[in-house]
């Protein structure tokens, strides 16, 4: 697949990490300049650096990290041609389909190539992936990428509507993965493409439950067994190293001190007022007007029409208790799931196709099967 050398070479596909949400793929092409949000980076400056390095921009305004591509990073960096499969789904599908080095896998459709890259990584150089898509555009783009990423020998790519035309493969795959709008249409073709000498496996990726129901029915009719449906997700967690929540004694004491200060201030005001009274007797009432308000109920506010003291509109910093400013509080690490998460991607429906002799009674139309089988045998050569 991608370069395994410790340092970046000219022509390498690298991943530029500018931030959690700013991840880009780049083919290192001497002479070119990458202009990112954090400055200009000449490709030449990347050649020879160790993978995993921090690289500064030309004017040292910003920096980025140069990473070695993985199928997962590639997916994050991808311009989204179709809804991409998510990491949790891909991982779970790989595990449930028992994909391993040497496996032969079929996928339809190719889509953005997210699953293709991941499976090609897992099956290794001894395994193989047949990938089909009914969009010529997507096939063309994927073909260029697979070539550039050195996957062209592991992946056979074809433009084909597998629901109509089948896979053109007979008794061939250990596992099939379907990400199609109507996977049930492809199920009879899957049966032909799967190996007949082992327990072969299939997975259908469907966002809606109605698709799942039709697919399960089709799998059941076509003698698949152990039909299971799952959802698999990963919820990112937010963590903070926060000041530990203060004990309530802290605010209690602060409020008591505040009460004492307020009383002292009031007494000071009264004695000031008495001093002033001697000078300007007639102004005394005005002088006292402001403070007593502090204790007046404010019955117009529906949320606080209680019979206890009401808030001061012009509260001075001393008046409001310093609850938010404790001195050097201990820290506590807390966490929670991020506020908005991806709460659904798809239902994953799995089934097993036993070797033909052991399969359950099947309701399928034999004529259909024979026809496909004949044409499939012919077509296999065209795909190879």
């Amino acid at each position: 697949m991608w370069s395994v050398a410790p340092t970046v070479a000219s022509g390498d596909t690298v991943i530029l990490w500018l931030g959690r949400d700013i991840i880009q793929a780049l083919v290192v092409t001497p002479g070119k300049v990458f202009n990112g949000r954090y400055g200009a980076f000449p490709h030449d400056a990347l050649v020879g650096v160790l993978y995993g390095s921090k690289v500064f921009s030309q004017k040292e305004r910003g920096f980025l990290y140069v990473l070695r591509p993985t199928p997962e990073l590639w997916t994050l960096a991808l311009p989204h041609r179709t809804q991409i499969l998510y990491l949790a789904d891909i991982a779970f599908v790989t595990s449930m389909l028992a994909v391993r080095p040497g496996s032969t896998v079929i996928e339809a459709g190719t889509g953005s190539g997210s699953f293709s890259h991941s499976v090609a990584r897992t099956v290794g150089s001894k395994g193989h992936l047949f990938s089909f898509d009914f969009h010529q555009d997507r096939v063309d783009k994927a073909r260029i990428e697979f070539l550039r990423h050195g996957l062209h020998q592991r992946i056979t790519l074809a433009h084909r509507n597998v629901c109509k035309d089948g896979f053109g493969l007979l008794d061939r795959a250990d596992a099939v993965f379907l990400d199609l709008p109507a996977p049930w249409e492809a199920v009879p073709h899957v049966k032909l493409a799967l190996r007949s000498d082992i327990s072969a496996r299939v997975c259908c990726f469907s966002p809606c439950i109605e698709q799942v129901m039709r697919t399960v029915a089709a799998l059941n009719e076509n003698a698949f067994s152990e039909i299971q449906t799952y959802e698999s997700l990963l919820f990112p967690q937010e963590t903070y190293s926060n000041p530990a929540p203060p004990p309530v004694s802290q605010i209690t004491n602060a409020l008591k001190e505040s009460e004492i200060k307020r009383e002292q201030r009031r007494l000071r005001q009264i004695s000031n007022a008495q001093l002033r009274k001697r000078k300007r007797d007639e102004d005394a009432d005005d002088q006292n007007l402001k403070r007593p308000r502090l204790q007046d109920p404010a019955p117009s506010d529906p949320g606080s029409s209680s019979s206890v003291p009401q808030p001061v509109p012009d509260a001075d910093p001393d008046h409001r208790a310093p609850a938010d400013l404790p001195d050097n509080p201990p820290k506590i690490v807390v966490s929670k799931t991020i506020p908005e998460v991806r709460g659904h991607t798809s239902y994953l429906t799995f089934a097993i196709l036993l070797p033909s002799e052991f399969r359950p009674r099947s309701h399928d139309a034999t004529t259909l099967d024979t026809n496909i089988e004949q044409s499939a045998t012919k077509q296999e050569q065209s795909v190879q």
């Binding site: 555009d137 209690t252 409020l255 204790q295 529906p302 808030p311 966490s335 991020i338 709460g343």
Partner: protein, 390 residues
């Protein structure tokens, strides 16, 4: 009994769902003009006396009640997106053209149809994609808005979406579970520590229906404005005889509150203004002492906490006033805060079976052929710690 219909009145806080789906609130006074920005404006008087929860079209500065949309059965067809090239879905009607159509007074529905007609690949799309496309366009043009009925669920939902941190992640399901776990019922008496702008208090007031006691212990000298309570538009009798407040100092039995003088200085003659002030002070003072007395007499039915303070230190202060078999329910955004409190409670025989649970909520799209859980969802509605007083 037949609960009266909830109608919009001057003085209310009115929550509005905008054509874009976003919500906002207005302090409604029933006069002047209400502007919904780019979606238009209308005279406030149009809303006075209207039932909450209706949907309106802003037509020539007046409001017309319209029926809410029903689910249109979009038929599943055999069309797929197969033949659409990703790069070719170019929109043929330009932005300038749309603006021209708009200013020429062309109706929004017509503009949408024009766009659909000129969308090169529209006929090739599946019915689902078409439906999606139409909805996206409609939201842009139709000036439909709704008022939101001020139920506690809707108020909580409004704030959870608007500013989750202000209500310390109390999601509506979590709030409802607090009420159930604490056995909140009309006539019950509860101690509350509400650091969530009054959300918890608002919910308690609704559940008490004007009978019982909500005693909030606050962390400022004088009770704050419980902002979210105003969103419920309660009648005064729902609040007046139910809600009282103390702060953590005045709620302390060992503490003798220092109060302003309620008698004029020795030998001084007082003005009329002074006498009225002194009278008010006396009332406030006696109310404060009454509330303290009520707290110290105890026998409350439950303690409900959504506070920034360490939960065990809070319950330790309040539990002497809780009746035997009474409930303690604490909400926190962070499980770490609750596990620490729980481990202290476990070592303390006053607390029976302190338990932590995580509320979990999932919404679904139920549409023919397109049923699935919502693609995006709230990650966390906090955690609940509950226990019973022994």
């Amino acid at each position: 009994m037949r609960l009266p219909p909830r109608r919009i009145q001057p003085g209310h806080t009115v929550m509005i769902k905008m054509p874009s789906g976003e919500c906002r609130s207005i302090k409604f006074d029933g006069v002047g003009t209400i502007s919904l920005g780019k979606f238009g404006s209308f005279p406030a008087a149009e809303l006075v006396g209207q039932l909450y929860g209706l949907r309106y079209d802003i037509a020539e500065k007046t409001l017309k009640v319209i029926a809410p949309p029903s689910i249109e059965d979009v038929e599943d067809t055999d069309a797929t997106n197969e033949l659409i090239r990703d790069s070719s879905s170019i929109q043929e009607v330009t932005y300038q053209e749309i603006e021209q159509l708009k200013s020429a007074g062309v109706l929004p529905e017509e503009i949408i149809n024009k766009q659909i007609e000129s969308h090169a690949s529209f006929a090739l799309k599946t019915e689902y994609s078409k439906d999606k496309y139409k909805k996206r366009k409609q939201a842009k043009f139709l000036k439909h808005f709704s008022t939101i009925e001020p139920t506690i669920h809707n108020v909580c939902d409004y704030w959870f979406k608007k500013d989750q941190s202000r209500i310390r992640d109390i999601r509506p399901d979590a709030l409802s579970q607090m009420m159930t776990l604490a056995n909140v019922h009309p006539g019950g008496r509860y101690l509350v520590a509400d650091d969530v702008s009054g959300l918890l208090i608002a919910c308690m007031l609704e559940r008490l229906g004007g009978e019982g006691r909500v005693m909030n212990i606050c962390d400022v000298e004088s009770p704050p404005v419980y902002h979210i309570v105003s969103y419920m538009n309660f009648e005064p009798q729902m609040v007046d005889n139910v809600l009282v407040s103390l702060n953590w100092a005045t709620a302390d039995e060992m503490h003798e509150p220092i109060l302003a003088a309620t008698e004029p200085m020795d030998g001084q003659k007082s003005s009329d203004g002074q006498r009225i002030r002194m009278q008010k002070r006396k009332l406030a003072e006696s109310a404060l002492f009454e509330t303290r007395e009520e707290l110290f007499r105890g026998n409350f039915d439950g303690i409900l906490i959504a506070s920034q303070y360490e939960p065990y230190s809070v319950t330790e202060r309040l539990i002497p006033y809780l009746a035997g078999s009474g409930s303690i329910v604490i909400h926190s955004p962070y499980i770490q805060v609750l596990t620490e409190a729980q481990s202290k409670m476990r070592a303390d025989p006053k607390y029976l079976a302190p338990s932590i649970a995580q509320p979990w909520l999932r919404q679904y799209q139920i549409l023919p052929g397109r049923t699935h859980p919502m693609m995006n969802t709230s990650g966390s509605g906090g955690f609940l710690l509950s226990a019973t007083r022994m």
